[in-house]
């Protein structure tokens, strides 16, 4: 199947569990398709050459750089973006709540990418410990936090997701009630 350089082509995929489509040129990056084509601006654009990690999304369950992915290349794929993390509108997911408790963000520019890396990784390897999660977070640049609170939040979220620590999650429920 060949696509012309100058024309826009329809791409269909699954986005956060629902069917989605948009029209893109072959050269359109997945970041721009998500942000401009679908209006989902939670995925941030930092360096645009794969170094900073701000644009990380999950493609078929694995974390990947949206800025190094062509939109035409995700035809039929299963995508997850930061917009898919909230269990219901206005409520934070487990990872997001842990980030909030630990002050794991300041300006927030890098946060969506880090959340998507951790979300995808913990689904694949729920038992991941500090060394493994630190390496995953190593694929992202954060200029605010110094990373320590991000690692702490990731470890706590991992424990909650494994069902080992419910205390913090319950506190969060109360705080939001």
């Amino acid at each position: 199947m060949q696509l012309d350089a100058q024309q826009r082509h329809r791409v269909r995929f699954t986005l956060n569990g629902a069917p989605a489509e948009c029209e893109v040129e072959p050269r359109t990056l997945l970041t721009d398709a998500l942000r401009h084509g679908l209006g989902l601006t939670g995925t941030h654009v930092g360096c645009e050459h794969g170094v900073c990690g701000a644009c990380t999304v999950a493609i078929d369950g694995v974390p990947a750089r949206a800025c190094l992915t062509l939109a035409v290349g995700v035809e039929g794929c299963d995508l997850r973006t930061v917009e898919g993390l909230e269990p219901e509108p206005g409520r934070l997911g487990v990872l997001q709540a842990a980030f909030r408790r630990h002050h794991a963000l300041q300006c927030g520019f890098c946060t969506a990418g880090i959340l998507m890396s951790l979300d995808a990784y913990l689904r694949l390897r729920p038992g991941a410990g500090r060394a493994e999660l630190t390496e995953v977070i190593g694929g992202h640049l954060c200029r605010c936090t110094g990373y320590a609170p991000i690692v702490a939040a990731a470890l706590e979220a991992a424990a909650i997701l494994r069902g080992e620590s419910t205390q913090a999650a319950n506190q969060e429920e109360t705080a939001h009630a």
């Binding site: 199947m1 696509l3 990947a64």
Partner: protein
């Protein structure tokens, strides 16, 4: 930071990809995982008229064990190979080096053949291919040929591949009895390109050291079994012959010193490993 316009072909078969490559020649580029090519496109360092996507070709998906080698076709992602059961037994050098290739998020998409095609002189995957004396299997509409890794890399991001040729697969010789392997790297941060990377292969007859990040291509040298100051002298001569340059990341002198230090370390480790496995 957006690519210049290009046409896009999602090849369903190897024949379709080869036919398009034959037709477009130098105007076309193969895209697999895109983790080396997309940065080049985004920065407009390359402006192909046509991209040929080979990731939907079923025949290129799975690594194939052959006698004495593991053959890795163009569609095999780095993360998939790293998770392959038994990799550390079959290809201990590659198993040690792959975690140094980019990050979890880039290995999830990037392929081994893509890294070989890109031919960055500091990249780990080409370095291991040269260290292990592997081969690159090229294919065009008209012919197939195998090129020794050492002959394939001909300069800074320049290879032996013709404009109408696709890297169909690369082949890494698997572990031999009585042979030891070791890998070490120094970079600014884990996941960055290496300032110097060293891979060693040692058996009962010789010691082989391959160095990345110093010359314009991954470069290997065979030594007889040396130790003590004779080994230091040989490594010093090799470090000078590599013709280290200066850049933002390191001075030439620092690079030479890393070749001597890391080289010694990996050769010693590989020798110990060879004695353990004999």
């Amino acid at each position: 930071m957006k690519p210049a316009p290009f046409g896009y072909l999602r090849a369903a078969s190897l024949d379709e990809a080869l036919e398009a490559l034959g037709r477009h020649g130098a105007e076309a580029r193969i895209v697999a995982g895109g983790q080396s090519l997309l940065p080049m496109l985004n920065m407009r360092l390359t402006k192909p008229a046509m991209l040929i996507d080979v990731m939907r070709i079923e025949a290129l998906r799975e690594p194939v064990p052959e006698r004495g080698a593991l053959v890795i076709p163009a569609g095999v992602r780095q993360a998939i190979l790293l998770d392959r059961p038994g990799l550390a037994d079959d290809l201990p050098l590659l198993a040690a080096a792959l975690p140094w290739v980019g990050h979890v998020q880039t290995r999830a998409r990037g392929t081994l053949c893509g890294s070989v095609a890109h031919a960055d002189p500091s990249a780990e995957i080409p370095l291991c291919l040269v260290a292990l004396e592997g081969e690159v299997r090229l294919r065009s509409r008209k012919r197939r040929r195998s090129v020794r890794a050492e002959d394939f890399f001909t300069g800074m991001m320049v290879t032996e591949r013709g404009d109408d040729e696709l890297i169909e697969a690369i082949a890494y010789p698997t572990r031999a009895a009585g042979t030891g392997y070791a890998f070490a790297e120094v970079g600014r941060r884990h996941g960055d390109f290496a300032i110097v990377a060293c891979a060693a292969v040692v058996d009962a007859r010789r010691m082989r050291l391959a160095v990345g990040g110093v010359a314009d291509r991954p470069t290997a040298r065979d030594f007889p079994l040396l130790d003590g100051s004779a080994l230091d002298d040989a490594l010093n001569a090799f470090a000078w012959e590599l013709g280290a340059g200066e850049d933002l990341h390191a001075t030439a002198r620092y690079r030479r010193d890393l070749v001597r230090q890391l080289g010694r370390r990996v050769l010693d480790q590989a020798r110990q490993d060879s004695l353990r496995c004999s």
